[in-house]
Each structure stands twice: as C-alpha cells, then as structure tokens.
C-alpha cells in the first residue's frame, strides 16, 4: 500500500514539476549513487562542493557537509496534494529527502508522522493564551525522534554498499540503529557511554546487535568513533552520525514538514527544540526554509528557541554571553540524551536563534523533573528527560517574557519517559498499598 501510494505521489507530483536547483550544484558530478533529489554535498562554512559519498567534513576547512538538492518546484498545491497522498510516515516527503524514489518499498521502520498534540491543558498550566502543541516523537518505532534520522542514514548506507551500521550514542540512537539494522538486514555495532540509564541500554541491546559500553562520557565515545572511522579497523562501516552524518541529519527536516502539514500547511510562530549537538534545531530551520521556498507554506516570521540542561549548557551559555563560538563543557545532568559537551552544530544554533529572534535557555535537573511531571499530568504524555528540558525551558521562557504566550507555539518531545524512569521513579510510584477488600479501600480514603 505504501509503495502504491508513493508511486502515486511520484506520478502526480513530479510529472508536473520542473527540476529547480535550490542549492547551486556547480562542481558536483552527482555520481551514480541514487539518492533521489540529492545532487552532492556542500560545505556549510566555505561552500566547497563534493560528490555524494560517505564523507562528513570539508577537506578544505573541516566544516560540516550538507546535502544539496534539485528540489521539485511548480504548483505548490499539486505538491501538497502529492505529499498528502503519500504514506503515513516520513517517506511522504521523499521528494525532499536524500533517498531513492522507491524508498517506501524497502524494509524500514517507517518512522514519522507522529502526533501533534493540541496541549490545551498544558497551555493553561503554563499561562499560554495562544495555541500550544506538543510534537510527540515518543510515538516513533523505538520511541524517539532518532528513528527519523536513522531511516535516512540506512538509505545512504545501502547506496554506499555498507553492511555494518554503527554510531556513537547517548542511548536513543543506539536503539534506533539496532532496530533499523535488524529490519533492514544490516549488522550493527553501536557505542554508548558505559553508565547510561537501564531503559536505554536494554532498548539498544534487545535487537541483537553488538552494544559496546565505552568507559567515558559521550564526547569520549564520539572521539573514539571518529578515530575508528579513520582506521582500517572501521573500514566498511557506516557510522550514521559520523561518515553518514550529512544524510542522517536531513531526517530531522521531516519534523518541520510534519509540524507545518499538521498545522494545515502553516508555519508555527514559535518552536522550542532541545539541543544536544544542535543538528536537529538547524535541520528543522532548514526544513522550514525549504517549505517557504517551495511555496508550501506562506512566508512569515517564526522564532526558534533552543533548550538545554543547565548541567550541559554550552550553547545557552554562549548565547547569553553574546559569543559566536561555543566553549565545550564537561556534562553533568540527568538529561543524558542531551549531554553533549562539545556540540558540533552549536555555532549554527546561535546563528539561527539570533536570526529568528529566538533565545537559548537552560533549566536545572529539578526543573527538568518538575516539567516531566507537569506534561504527564496535564496531557498524559510521559516524556524522557529531553522532553522535560523543552517543557521546562518553555515555562522559563514564558516567565522571563522571551516567549510570547499569545502566539502559536510548538514544543518538541523527542523521546519516551519509559527510557528514563530513574528521573521520576523516586516519587511516582504507588500512592497507596491496600488489601484486596472494600473495607481497606474505604479505610484508605480512596472513594
């Protein structure tokens, strides 16, 4: 059914569209790799162009490489209709992603199209008078937004002939890679800090791949993986967030596409996004810009807000200090999925928050726990600590007057609270224990 829908989308959508190069494709040969509309890679710093390939850093300046596209153009109404006729997952946006046209027919976890929850109760709790939505990505197959980015990386891994999938992970990604590899027929070997929450370790290990704990924090794991990819020992491995990172990161654009489509093809006024490496925030901005460029949404100002935990807040610290560079920190927070002390995309987050008139804020661990409970009790959504960070920061931004409570705001919950039970377990257990009798029930005052 998905294949059929995708075929329909292709016929209906692309037949009426002429190709337009959104990013300049000078110097790109395109190669024989079929990644749909992707035409090459471009350095975000110096603009140097490269062919599509498993590379991630510019050979000239070490800057990050980004996918450049020939995006479809033409009648926006027809493109919207084509997308809406697609499958209920990220592949409905295949013409805007670095994936082959027949992607929906391949074995995949088919993530995405998660709920955009109208959070009226939370709005009341936080004093929001406009509309407040929670984009709840805990509804993905492995219960975090990572399924989106991994699904794109899997297609790149296929295109480049890799048979082993790997990553450095704070936990959620390890599970997403393990599951995607199992479904798509890859071997997996993933690396995590040795002291992660049990829920994440079990969720990463259950899919049967290799799960390796590294004695160190996430930045140590990341450094190890970067060295491994440059060594013959790592030859033939597709590290989703190292040598496949330019493709992988594009998966986060689908959050922007979905939010706008679910709002009736409109931009939100304000979005609050968690920051780990900062890639997700930059890609959501990229996705919004693409929708504007393609005429799929009406152009209007929007503000992007970044959320960090105080115990790992290199980006918010730099933002508040007015710096253009991000000084690395040694993380110490319960929000382990955001505990990246040396965020690769930090400088770009600063640029985007400033360009859009947003802000980057942080909350302490107590506020994270409080926010998890507020969201759970208001909306029945159990967020992991990263979701506690975004809700907590939203609350703080409203209190400080940086976020306008009268506008339409979307807050991201990127993962499931079942993965970080430790954060709220101490006071979220049984409220009473009684004998199985009506007398005991009455005596406990529960009626």
């Amino acid at each position: 059914m998905a294949k059929c829908a995708m075929g329909k989308m292709r016929r209906k959508g692309l037949a009426i569209m002429a190709a337009q190069t959104v990013a300049t494709s000078a110097g790109s040969t395109g190669t024989s790799v079929d990644l749909g509309p992707a035409t090459g890679l471009s350095c975000r710093e110096c603009g140097t162009r490269f062919d599509l390939g498993p590379i991630f850093a510019c050979a000239e300046c070490f800057g990050p490489l980004e996918v450049a596209y020939d995006l479809p153009t033409g009648d926006p109404e027809a493109l919207r209709a084509a997308i809406e006729a697609g499958p209920d997952n990220i592949w409905r946006y295949a013409p805007l992603l670095p994936v082959p046209a027949d992607v929906a027919s391949k074995p995949s976890l088919n993530p995405g199209f998660t709920k955009l929850v109208d959070a009226a109760n939370l709005a009341k709790e936080l004093g929001v008078t406009g509309k407040l939505y929670v984009k709840d990505d805990s509804g993905n197959p492995t219960h975090s937004f990572k399924d989106r980015v991994v699904a794109i990386a899997v297609e790149a891994a296929r295109a480049f002939g890799y048979t082993t999938l790997s990553c450095s992970s704070t936990g959620n990604l390890a599970g997403a890679v393990g599951a995607a590899a199992a479904r798509a027929g890859f071997r997996s070997c993933v690396f995590i800090p040795h002291d992660l929450e049990q829920g994440k370790v079990v969720m990463a290990g259950v899919y049967g791949g290799e799960l390796v704990g590294i004695e160190g924090n996430y930045d140590d794991v990341n450094r190890f993986c970067s060295e491994l990819i440059g060594d013959p020992l790592g030859e033939g491995w597709g590290f989703v967030n190292v040598n496949l990172r330019p493709y992988y990161g594009e998966g986060s654009k689908t959050l922007a596409y979905e939010i706008c489509e679910q709002l009736g093809w409109q931009l939100p006024d304000q979005i609050v996004i968690p920051i780990a490496s900062g890639s997700q925030l930059t890609k959501i901005d990229k996705g919004l810009q693409e929708l504007i460029k393609l005429g799929l949404v009406e152009d209007k100002p929007y503000k992007i807000f970044g959320a960090q935990a105080e115990g790992c807040s290199p980006v918010s610290t730099a933002f508040k200090a007015g710096h253009e560079v991000v000084r690395p920190q040694k993380p110490n927070t319960i929000a382990k999925s955001l505990a990246i002390g040396n965020p690769a995309d930090g400088p770009y987050v600063l640029d985007i928050a400033r360009r859009t008139g947003g802000y980057v804020e942080d909350v302490n661990d107590e506020q994270v726990v409080e926010a998890i409970k507020i969201l759970a009790r208001a909306e029945g959504i159990f967020a992991e600590t990263a979701g506690g960070v975004t809700v907590g920061v939203t609350k703080k931004l409203i209190e400080n007057g940086q976020l306008d409570p009268s506008l339409t705001t979307v807050v991201l919950n990127t993962g499931d609270g079942l993965k970080t039970l430790e954060a709220v377990a101490s006071d979220s257990g049984q409220t009473a224990t009684i004998r199985p009798s009506l007398d005991a029930f009455r005596a406990a005052g529960l009626a």
Binding site: E45, I55, F56, A57, C58, A59, E60, C61, F62, G63, P64, L65, F145, K146, V149, S168, T170, L173, Y218, D219, D220, N222, R223, C225, S226, E227, I229, G230, D231, F239, N241, V242, R245, Y248, G249, S252, A276, S277, G278, S279, Q280, V325, R327, P328, K330, I340, N342, P343, A344, D345, P347
Partner: protein
C-alpha cells in the same frame, strides 16, 4: 620532544596516506609547526588565518581536549599521542 600525531582521513593527502606520523615540539603549536615542515600545507588546514585552531577541528593530547587545556600552548610530553579529529561528528 617526539610525539605521534594521528591524522584524519581528510588530511592524509598531505602525509602520503599515512594515518600516524611523528612530529617534534614541547607544545601543540610547535608540533603543528613541525608537521608543516614535514608535510607542507597541513598547518593551513588545521589553523585559520589568525593562526588559531579552526572551529571545526578538535585536537587531543593523549586523552585531553586541548580546548580544556592550554589550546595551542598545551604541553606535548615526550611520547604523547596527538589526535586531530573533525569536530562535526556525533549527536543529532
């Protein structure tokens, strides 16, 4: 002081494909100068126009990120391992 420098894939065109090369110097700055003498052109890839480490380059002396130490003035003891790594990896 003699150290071993681990070279990332994108800089191996300067080292004839070698993943690890020897260099001399008591600080990271001197080690980079030594690298430049042996492998001309490599310093300009690691340092910007002001002579500072490029913002997307991470350098470790043994296990320590030099940004937490003394930057280019970080001491490089005899036998130390120096790793040059692209910073744009990881996370999401």
């Amino acid at each position: 002081m003699s150290v071993n420098v681990r070279i990332p894939t994108i800089l191996r065109t300067y080292t004839g494909g070698q993943a690890e090369v020897p260099a001399e110097g008591v600080t990271l700055s001197e080690v980079i100068e030594s690298l430049e003498k042996s492998h001309p052109g490599i310093a300009a890839r690691v340092l910007d126009d002001q002579g500072k480490l490029r913002r997307f380059v991470n350098v470790y002396v043994n296990d320590d990120d030099v940004r937490f130490e003394g930057g280019l003035q970080t001491p490089t003891p005899d036998g130390a391992g120096v790793s040059i790594i692209p910073a744009v990896a990881g996370g999401c």
